[in-house]
Symmetry: C2
Subunit: 213 residues, 2 copies
């Protein structure tokens, strides 16, 4: 553990300067600021100050503010993936699991509106969306595709191209989430994010029609 000589593979020398893990601390503090005050109020100076660190210390760990933001967004996609996966698996998959997944999706956005906006709101310039970011976003989308494929195999829903179906479903979840956190939907809808009606109509549109022979 006392190794301080390492060419590349070394990422964390385990012997820090100020913090145990300043990079992690910066990310946490940034997220905290974003959640509390919104992305537009996130300043590197305050983040540094709050950690008792110079405002330029951040540049040891991130290329710039965009890079910090991209990492925050990336971690958002990971959390979103986990919460939707859990909802799907812990609610018996199938139709009930799928509904739980949709609710979990929208609820994530409602619970972390600013974080969700960082992921989708155009704050991260495309130049900053590195491979890790894109991979994480893709993985979150794949959860949806997988859930659809499984329901297709169970004969519950239509056998359309699952990726095309997933985009359709995603648009509905995403649109609902965005409208809710933008305050465009009334209070009542905020309490029941992905409402019964929405899911009923969604499922009606993708379920396997019983063939009339």
């Amino acid at each position: 553990m006392a190794r301080s000589t390492h060419p590349r593979p070394g990422k964390k020398p385990a012997k820090p300067y100020h913090h145990g893990d300043l990079r992690r601390a910066l990310l946490d503090e940034a997220l905290r600021t974003i959640q509390t005050y919104g992305v537009e109020h996130l300043t590197l100076r305050t983040v540094g100050e709050r950690l008792g660190v110079s405002r330029s210390a951040l540049y040891r760990h991130f290329a710039d503010k965009q890079s910090l933001l991209a990492t925050v967004g990336k971690e958002g996609f990971r959390k979103l993936r986990q919460t939707t996966t859990d909802a799907w698996e812990q609610n018996g998959r199938g139709r009930a699991g799928f509904q739980a997944m949709g609710k979990a999706y929208v609820q994530f956005a409602v619970a972390h509106p600013s974080h969700y906006r960082v992921m989708f709101g155009g704050f991260i310039e495309s130049a900053a969306k590195d491979d890790h970011f894109l991979a994480e976003a893709k993985a979150a989308f794949k959860v949806l595709v997988d859930a659809l494929v499984e329901q297709q195999n169970a004969g519950d829903i239509r056998r359309d191209d699952p990726v095309v179906m997933a985009r359709f479903v995603w648009a509905l979840f995403h649109g609902t989430a965005m409208l809710v956190i933008d305050g465009q939907l009334p209070e009542e809808v905020q309490r029941d994010p992905l409402g019964h009606y929405t899911f009923e109509r969604l499922y009606a549109s993708i379920r396997q029609e019983t063939l009339r022979t």
Copy 2:
């Protein structure tokens, strides 16, 4: 038409200082900057400079940057309303008109992504959303509701609460628009914004089922 004596008590003295209508010019220039470089690159200084006017001249016409942005957003809702109304009316209403309306909606977002983001992306703080802004947003939504009611009366679609239906449809349009302008959907989808599949599934979910007696 040659009236320079205007209806409402002294708004524009018709005798300007620098520009014929600096307020209008500021809005146009702001929108131009937003469309070209994005909201996050909009600075009052550059807007002023570009119009050959001091950077503080703006404060004669708007309370602050938020107020300018709110007006830009408000005008976006008006344009959106006009384009969707036109699509609906010029395509024979009914199912075809409704599809045209959906396409027009998403196409508006694709053609003016930054403008659309100003309207929905949380750039305008809720304090800045005055009555005019909210009224314009509401009016844009009403177009959708009206189109649904008309289709209900024609017996084409379900007789659910039209406002609830409209929210459902809106979420789908909005989600599609947002995902497209965020680059989350592949190129092909960008060229055909509200794809055939999406509309097919949407209409299947809201159309009036033929009753089997």
